[in-house]
């Protein structure tokens, strides 16, 4: 979904909703959110600027993230982030965050975060 109010990757980290695993551009705006664990679903439907919420952690997720031009990948539900994924995100220039919240909870968190902005 597209957010009415825009916040940055750094804003999300400061809010405590997610922590940084690798930051390419902390000031990049998060303009919406998209949640899926299917790569073709993400590449075909996520919008530029979206935060991509997933529990996938294999490095193959970086190509769809790059092509869809998401603002960041957020690995949810306390899923351990692998060094291989971090390394690939650094090479591809994609910000990678992680969160202990399940995908649905983080979706609500993101919505409330932007709704609270004036």
């Amino acid at each position: 979904m597209k957010y009415t109010n825009v916040f940055t990757v750094n804003d999300l980290i400061c809010s405590g909703g997610a922590k940084a695993e690798f930051l390419e551009d902390g000031e990049r705006a998060i303009t919406g959110g998209f949640a899926t664990d299917l790569l073709s679903h993400a590449i075909g439907n996520a919008s530029s600027g979206d935060a991509w919420l997933t529990v996938l952690t294999n490095p193959n997720i970086t190509a769809p993230a790059s092509i869809a031009d998401v603002s960041c990948i957020i690995v949810c539900d306390g899923t351990p982030v692998t060094d291989a994924l971090k390394a690939k995100c650094e090479v591809m220039g994609i910000s990678l965050l992680s969160s202990d919240l399940p995908i649905t909870d983080l979706s609500v968190f993101l919505y409330n975060l932007q709704a609270g902005l004036k």
């Binding site: 664990d37 299917l38 790569l39 073709s40 679903h41 590449i43 075909g44 530029s48 997933t54 996938l56 294999n58 490095p59 193959n60 997720i61 970086t62 190509a63 769809p64 790059s66 092509i67 869809a68 031009d69 291989a84 591809m92």
Partner: protein, 140 residues
């Protein structure tokens, strides 16, 4: 008429972790050529899905990209098993990918539908037991 720009990628069917690298590179090159963002997105998505299909189903292949004045053409050629029923393969959700591939987030049965959705023209030439050639054009 401006120069026609050509690219060729050998897609390695054995290196699963590199799948998608050619598409990411195409996106970068198209941006350097000054192509518009919408056409880049369409070409990169169409190319990505084709590249992944060649890795999962055909043991790799070749991707030829041509950038002309008014279109981007992507020709994907493989010597894989071919597609027995193209109409069935075009149905969203239909997939023959094995479980270990699906566990990585692939095999959603959205590859060919995405290629059709994101290209302006698409042609599939396939012979069972010989291979498949898919030609896609995105108008600039």
């Amino acid at each position: 008429m401006a120069d026609v720009f050509k690219l060729r990628y050998e897609v390695d069917g054995d290196n699963f972790m590199a799948a998608g690298a050619a598409s990411s590179d195409v996106k970068k090159v198209l941006r350097q050529l000054g192509i518009g963002a919408e056409a880049i997105r369409k070409a990169a998505v169409a190319m990505y899905e084709g590249e992944i299909n060649m890795v999962i189903h055909a043991g790799g292949g070749v991707a030829d990209i041509t950038v002309a004045d008014d279109y981007i053409e992507i020709i994907l050629t493989d010597k894989g098993p071919g597609i027995p029923d193209v109409d069935q393969a075009m149905q969203e959700g239909w997939s023959t990918a094995p479980d270990n591939i699906r566990a990585l987030g692939f095999g959603a049965g959205m590859g060919l539908p995405n290629m059709k959705k994101y290209s302006d023209e698409m042609k599939i030439d396939t012979v069972v037991g010989e291979g498949t050639t898919i030609t896609m054009r995105i108008f600039i």
